[in-house]
Symmetry: C2
Subunit: 133 residues, 2 copies
C-alpha cells in the first residue's frame, strides 16, 4: 500500500528542491547528502552511479530516509522513510538530464563522460512512512 | 584529533542554517530531519528532548551524520560524520533559547512547558570526517 502524502506538504515533493538522502554505511554509520529527485506519486527517483559510496551502502542496506524542507519556511518539512526497491541501469545518463532540466541546470556543455554515464543508475525509493511538521 | 573544516565551507557551520541530522533507528533504518545547531569549532550542539525518537536512536547508536547546504547555492554542501559523545541535561531549556536567538525566533511567548524544558537535553556531536562539495 503506497503511503499518503499530506496535501499540505505535497509541494515539497513537487517543487525542484534538494532533498537530503540518508543511507547506512556497511559499518552501520549513517551517511547523508543533498540530492536531486523526482516524485511520481509512488516513488522517489534519484540519479546516481554504481561507483559511489551510497550505491554500495544501498546494496547492503536498502532502507533509507529522504527529507526535504521548505526554503521559504524551513520549519515546514517532510520526511519519508522507506527503501530502495530497485536500481535501474541508465547507461545513456538520460535520467541525469531529466533531473538537470527539472532543476534548471544548463546542460549544454555536459558530455556523457562528464557525468560518468556508463555507470549511471536510477535509484527507485518507495516510502513506507511519512512524517511532517 | 578534531577534524579540520575547509575554510571554503566554514560559513555553512557559522550561518544560522538548518542542518539535517541523520541517525539510525534501533531496527537499523536511517532517520533524518532538519535541526537547529551551534558549532564551536570542535562540536555541533543540538537542543532535543529525552522523550523523542532521535534520543532513543542515539542511546543505542551514537554515530550520526550532519549535512548542511548553502541555500544560495545548494550544490555547495558540507557533511560531517561522527558521533554524539555526550548528552547533557538542560532542564531549564536554556540551550533551546540560545538557539532560538541564533535563528532569529521571537521567543517572547514561549514558556518552559511549551518546549518541554523538563526533558530538554543538549546533544553534543563531534565530527570525525568531513565531506564537501
Amino acid at each position: 500500500v503506497p503511503v499518503t502524502i499530506p496535501p499540505s506538504h505535497a509541494d515539497l515533493l513537487e517543487r525542484p528542491l534538494l532533498c537530503t538522502l540518508a543511507t547506512v554505511k556497511p559499518n552501520g554509520q549513517p551517511q547523508s547528502n543533498p540530492m536531486w529527485f523526482q516524485w511520481d506519486g509512488k516513488a522517489v527517483r534519484f540519479t546516481h552511479t554504481s561507483t559511489r559510496a551510497k550505491y554500495r551502502n544501498l546494496q547492503r542496506e536498502p532502507r533509507a530516509a529522504v527529507s526535504v524542507f521548505d526554503p521559504d519556511n524551513p520549519y515546514r518539512y517532510l520526511e519519508l522513510r522507506g527503501r530502495v526497491t530497485s536500481i535501474e541501469p541508465n547507461p545513456d545518463g538520460s535520467f541525469y538530464f531529466t533531473l538537470a532540466q527539472r532543476y534548471g541546470l544548463d546542460t549544454g556543455g555536459i558530455t556523457a563522460e562528464a557525468i560518468d554515464a556508463e555507470h549511471r543508475v536510477v535509484l527507485v525509493f518507495e516510502p513506507e512512512a511519512v512524517a511532517t511538521k
